[in-house]
Amino acid sequence: MREDSLSRNIDWVTILFYLTFIIAGWLNIFAVVYNPDPEVQQNIFDLSLNSGKQLLWIGSAFILILMIFAVDIKFYSAFAYVLYGIIILVVIATIFIGLEINGSHSWIGVGSFRVQPAEFAKLFTALALSRFLGDVNANLKKRNTRLVVAGILILPCLFILLQNETGGVLVFSAFILVLFREGLSPWILIIGVASIAIFILTLMLDKYNLSIGLLILAGVAIIIRIITVRKIIFRSIMINSATVIAIAILCIGIVFSVDFAINKVLKDHQRKRIMVLVNPELDKKKEGYQINQSKVAIGSGGFFGQGFLQGTQTKFDFVPEQSTDFIFCTIGEEHGWIGSTFLIILYIMFLVRIINLAERQKEKFARIYGYCVASIIFFHFMVNIGMTIGVFPIIGIPLPFFSYGGSSLWSFTILLFIFLKMDAHRKQVLAH
């Protein structure tokens, strides 16, 4: 009876999205390893290929889903802090016992089985954040609440940073969307977007020209204000002008600090990754190689794409890390603009649906968690595809459900299905 009601309340549409994504991802992973030589008979199920291994990860993800549904719904809120604590300890341990891969100590593993604890950190942080904000007494307008939220978010970031995994830390900025929904001032969002705009302008333009430009802009704004104002009140004009000039000076301050940060604080390879973004021709052979090859692969897809298993850039290893972080190149090359657009629309529909599901939750905890799920997946989607088409710097984060790899598939599956479990029980909660 209870099973019955569970299956009736599960959001099968979201599960359909999920299945579509992982199967499409699996096929594209096969396309990457595919060898066109007719003498090499390849099987998508071959366990020595990435596609075969991914199938194992998918199978184990299904087992995880069953486990998530089997666990009592109260477990997730009850153990939110405990799980958060455990993952923090594991992340700390990884700093010391982790395997060193590409200069970062972010993997732990036995033999060929390896996981990246940071992948799971965002998941349990999401649970802990939802638990804390879900409390009736929590209010983002209160200073205490804000401090604790900051603490919950910054703690894992600190340790992940120590692992040398910058990309993993940036994911935590996704939580701003959650906080915005829960009452944080929209100014944080606006200032964030404005900072990014100024940041990019700083990269593209000379800092002095940019400063003069900002001052002229401020002057124009003041003059327009004086002309358009109906009744000239000296005092109010002074206050308005002072505010505008203060903002302009603040922006100039940001320009100079960004410039300083890029040239003095960032490591050489990080600076180059940012610089190739605004100028892809800068360094086609070395730092710019990956982003250039990625754009070449996607660009070669044209309108309709080369066809499944027909992409030359995909098959012949022109794009490094193609089955993991750069899986979108395969889609772009083999399925063209049509295929990419279809995927993006599907993904956006999926994210919009999660938001809608979150809003229908009666319990605050479940709603906040739903927003966490949507925000985290959205951030990965935005940055991952953005870096393949050259609008974001290359930070190694996967495309959820598509990229090859167990850690990411597992963590996103758990992330999503805990929420679907909550959603399936939304009516029971009311029955309390």
Binding site: D37, F180, V296, G299, T312, S340, T341, E359, Y371
Partner: protein, 616 residues
């Protein structure tokens, strides 16, 4: 307010999605440079070189064939040689050479350890076979076959020509866009003139390669590939046996032999002496050998039958006799005595006086002095100079119809026209109306400003044999085989001289007497009616050049020949025996004891050593 915020977040999602879709539209649909770069990344264009056409002699014996050679290739990344000593022994190189080769290969531009590179080039199949056992134990080695030109009989080098990499100026000159740098092209001889037919059509193959340059099979299943078409075979007019026979006699001499079939204009033999081994200009020693041939003072690469301009000497008397008759100043019965003192011309002892036939038989110089004088001063009722000018112009027009002073449209490049002086030429030297017969009298016996190339001499013999016409001498009977076989129309056309055919009989009788009982009496071949004419051309460098033209048999001639031997002395001494022996060889294919002795004598005549000091 909460609903608003939900909407804001959803709009942010949609906005980002929209921006990406637009961005992708520019990247994938609008911009073309990524597609080009992708193609450049993953495909490689491979030119498939066609099989070049072969050349055969008139009896379908191969003159030029393609020989398969093997380049031993290695992929450095995979290379494993368990026993270097054994390897080096198998391929007949020293260990140091082997190390040196590997070092050089690695320094080459565009070297890639994943891609096969040649380490030992152009091994013969036999040599490669010797190394097979050793290669079985090694790793990373591949073979690449290619073909080079090969000349089984090492004969007719200058006629056949050679192929080599296309030169920069040639590449720029070629407008059809067929050639690319590094392509092989016919550079001289028939290889050059029939390049268009021999080369075939290049093919193109597109293959895929991965990021390391490793080949990954055909691109798009080979849909865009173009299969190469082999070149067409040439069936030449050369008689290989005759060619070799003549070459043997000419080997230690400088000069030319050209034999033509008068009834068709087909060139039967084409000898430029000294010659070279055509196999020297194939394959990997091309440039080294080319350099040494180029520096050789004997100029073996100089295509003498077409390019060496010689004074013809007394063989020109035949043309004089014909033009004299045509101009009405000479008849078969015209008799002049060999009056050397009176005309101031030297001659050799012979019966005198002579009629026209006798003048040819004994090659009487004063006779032709008088003939030419009567031609030039044929009465025109004007002054002597005006008369000379008008008559010389007539004379020259007649001479030009024999092909003198012009390039015959022979199917071989770089023919020289020789020199048949024009009125303007003499005007320039002596002034307008300031020259007469006594000024240009050396022309009477084929000396002076007159220059003729050996092919024109052979053509003269063929024209006399045909009694007044010739076919343009040519080398190719047929292009291609089976259904596609073609002949070139321009070589089936008769070219008439301006001389009535009735004037030829007496000349032919005279030529017959030259060999029967005249200046070339010693070179007579029993049983064959040969008509010939000796020539002994003076030159400022050394001994006289020995000249002889002839045709045979007297009725229905099958072969006309011209032999020119530099510094060979009297025409009957060197040139005539070579010509007549070749006629015998061609017509009978048997040789008498007498001819074998004659051949031995003429073959052993080493003019190169004798005249060594001339070629320094």
């Amino acid at each position: 307010m909460r609903d608003e915020r939900k909407l804001v977040i959803q709009i942010i999602f949609i906005l980002i999605g929209f921006i990406y879709i637009v961005r992708l539209f520019f990247l994938q649909v609008v911009e073309d440079k990524y597609k080009e770069e992708a193609e450049k990344n993953a495909t490689r264009k491979i030119i498939e070189y066609p099989y070049r056409g072969l050349l055969y002699d008139r009896h379908n014996k191969p003159l030029v064939i393609n020989q398969i050679v093997i380049d031993l290739m290695v992929v450095m990344k995979e290379m494993k040689v368990p026993d270097t000593t054994q390897f080096c022994n198998a391929f007949n190189i020293s260990k140091e050479e082997f190390i040196d080769i590997i070092k050089k290969v690695k320094q080459e531009k565009g070297y890639n350890k994943n891609r096969p590179v040649p380490i030992i080039k152009q091994l013969s199949i036999e040599d490669f076979g010797k190394g097979l056992d050793v290669l079985a134990d090694c790793n990373g080695f591949y073979r690449q076959e290619r073909t080079i030109r090969s000349y089984p009989d090492q004969s007719a080098a200058n006629a056949l020509g050679y192929i080599g990499e296309i030169s920069k100026p040639q590449l720029e000159k070629s407008t059809e866009g067929y050639y690319e740098q590094g392509d092989l092209v016919g550079i001289s001889g028939l290889e050059s003139s029939y390049e268009k037919y021999l080369r075939g059509k290049k093919g193109v193959r597109y293959i895929m390669k991965d990021v390391h340059g490793v080949v990954k099979g055909p691109y798009r299943g080979g849909d865009q590939d173009i299969i190469s078409e082999p070149g067409e075979n040439l069936f030449t007019t050369i008689d290989l046996e005759l060619q070799k026979y003549g070459e043997e006699m000419m080997k230690n001499k400088i000069g030319s032999v050209v034999a033509i079939e008068p009834s068709t204009g087909e060139i039967l033999a084409f000898i430029s002496a000294p010659t070279y081994n055509p196999n020297a200009l194939t394959g990997r020693y091309f440039s080294k050998n080319y350099d040494s041939l180029q520096k050789n003072p004997m100029k073996p690469l100089f295509n003498r039958p077409l390019m060496a301009m010689y004074p013809p000497g007394s063989i020109f008397k035949l043309a004089q006799a014909l033009v004299g008759q045509q101009m009405g100043v000479l008849r078969p019965s015209t008799i002049y005595s060999c009056n050397q003192q009176a005309v101031g011309v030297k001659c050799h002892p012979h019966p005198s006086p002579n009629d026209l036939k006798g003048s040819i038989q004994w090659s009487c110089n004063p006779y032709y002095f008088t003939v030419f004088k009567t031609i030039i001063h044929k009465n025109r009722n004007t002054n002597k100079y005006r008369e000379s000018e008008l008559n010389y112009d007539d004379w020259r027009k007649h001479m030009a119809t024999f092909g003198f002073g012009q390039k015959l449209k022979i199917d071989m490049p770089n023919m020289k026209s020789g020199h048949l002086p024009t009125n303007a030429y003499y005007d320039k030297i002596y002034g307008d109306l300031s020259w007469k017969h006594s000024t240009i009298r050396s022309l009477d016996i084929g000396q002076g400003e007159l220059l003729i190339v050996p092919v024109q001499m052979a053509n003269l013999a063929a024209t006399v044999a045909n009694k007044g016409y010739y076919y343009t001498p040519h080398f190719v009977k047929r292009i291609g085989e089976g259904k596609n076989a073609r002949i070139l129309k321009e070589y089936t056309q008769k070219h008439y001289t301006s001389i009535d055919s009735s004037f030829f009989q007496v000349i032919i009788e005279g030529m017959f007497m030259v060999v029967e009982h005249g200046t070339a009496y010693f070179d007579k071949i029993p049983g064959i009616e040969i008509c010939g004419k000796t020539g002994t051309a003076q030159n400022p460098h050394g001994d006289d050049h020995s000249v002889f033209i002839s045709f045979a048999p007297k009725t229905n001639p099958k072969i006309a020949i011209a032999v020119y031997v530099e510094n060979g002395g009297f025409g009957a001494v060197t040139a005539a025996p070579i010509a007549n022996l070749m006629i015998e060889k061609y017509l009978t294919d048997t040789t008498s004891a007498m001819s074998r002795w004659m051949k031995k004598v003429v073959t052993e005549k080493d003019l190169l050593t004798k005249n060594k000091k001339l070629y320094k």
